[in-house]
Amino acid sequence: MRAYVLQVTQATLALLLAPGLVGLIRWMKARLQNRRGAPMWQPYAELRKLFQKEVIVSSNASWVFRAAPFLVFSSTVAVTLLVPILAVPLPFDRVGDLLVVVYLLLLGTFFLALAGLDVGSPFGGMGASREMTVAALAEPAIALAIFALALSAGSTNLGQIVARTLAHPGTALSPGHLLAFGALFVVTLAETGRLPIDNPATHLELTMIHEAMVLEYSGRYLALIEWAAATKLLIFFSLLGNLFIPWGVAVALTPATVAIAVFSLLAKFIVLAGTVAVLETRIAKLRLFRVPELLSVSFLLGLLAVTSSFLLR
């Protein structure tokens, strides 16, 4: 019973923290660029504003356009129940492993792309086609990075991967894990629309990917999509933080360990957010034609990770 309560708490916490995480990255970026920046809770205010606004839907839109925000949001919420954010093993571990997590996230991306195509605006179609290109290239890299972890743990179950790394701390520094971390980090940037692939800070530019797809949305639909996008970032961050550096994740369910888990999670998020902010300040957006090259770097890292975990087992 207690485990189920924790499971729901974890999902709620993830949903509540997600906009704050996006706000934190924006604030850090602003400070690094010598701007004062909006406060960290700005995304919460934006979400509140969007939920109160009227929804305007194009007359060409079909049911896909109306259903997509709910599908995107609910698939993301489902993932927050499966990923070890605070504790392992979770009771829902039986329902889904790493593969389910990745493909649930892709299901959201798929519906977002459909919705972008649905209204027939040129930007929507362009964004959808780009998003699909990036997703198709990122997918083999994610799969390989996951297999590298699964091979060294002997299971694709997220809880078991975490438990295995906790039991053998040396594996966290093994080349397989480090290379897979690199691969997954690049994929995280690609999947969550961060800088070298997509610029999250601009609207109405010819280079945008995510923003182009959601351009037609307004009001609570847009709020749901933005919230889901923020949660996706949080999910990828907790995969990076908890699968590769599992220390702090609660193994036994006592108040003390859960408190430690919350604090270590926040610390990991701050470090990862700082890394992303520094990266986004230092580098420029890649030309669209160089994105496949970056993703093949990630694929190569994943391939090497699998080879070394397979052969050095």
Partner: protein, 218 residues
């Protein structure tokens, strides 16, 4: 103790290989030189780690010489060369980036396949890094044949040499100091000769694009 030694040596070898793979993704001579410099520094570190765990004092000297020659002197000379050909900063390969990355991945797998008997034969804790060193040798050969500019071919050759040095260190804890010094001298001499070649190529064709050498036939 052995576990940690093996862990560290594999980690170092992976880093050395990664710096070799960076060549395939970056364009621009400066990035190539930086990658080579960092690779040599990591190689020197791996040598020092082997020296520490194997309690072999001669290897410290090798590590020091590596750091001095390949970490400081040769990158410095490369930098000077780069400054002399400012028009040649952008590098265009024969094979596009995405393909060459996939080819490099396959080459590393091939490296694993061909070092299998070697690894099976060895009893040293460092044996797990040998396939990575062989992978680096193959990848640098690929860099040499797939790039057009003479300068990048030189960097590829130097990385090949790094790969061989890594293989020797991991496979046998290094060769005797006197042989190692001879190898270093050879590398330096070879590098200087190649430098002269590059200057000559530049004199003749006003470019260091080796495709131009085809004109010599007519």
């Amino acid at each position: 103790m052995d576990g940690m030694f093996s862990q560290l040596s594999v980690l170092g070898s992976s880093l050395v290989l990664i710096f070799g793979l960076i060549l395939l993704w970056r364009r621009g001579v400066t990035a190539y030189i930086a990658a080579f410099r960092w690779q040599s520094i990591v190689l020197a570190l791996v040598t020092a780690i082997v020296a520490y765990f194997a309690a072999d004092h001669e290897l410290y000297w090798v590590a020091g010489a590596l750091l001095l020659l390949k970490g400081v002197v040769i990158p410095g000379l490369l930098k000077r060369m780069e400054r002399r050909f400012p028009a040649e900063r952008e590098l265009d390969p024969y094979v596009n980036t995405a393909t060459s990355l996939v080819v490099a991945g396959l080459l590393v797998l091939f490296g694993y396949a061909i070092t299998r008997p070697l690894v099976a034969l060895s009893q040293l804790p460092t044996r797990a890094g040998m396939p990575l060193a062989m992978g680096l040798v193959l990848v640098s050969l690929f860099v040499v044949i797939s790039r057009k500019k003479a300068l990048t071919q030189v960097v590829g050759f130097l990385m090949l040499e790094n790969g061989l040095a890594l293989l020797a260190i991991l496979g046998t804890y290094g060769i005797p100091l006197i042989v190692e010094l001879g190898v270093f001298l050879d590398v330096l001499m070879g590098f200087l000769v190649m430098q002269i070649f590059i200057y000559q190529i530049h004199e003749t064709f006003e470019s260091i694009d080796v495709e131009q050498l085809n004109h010599l036939r007519h």
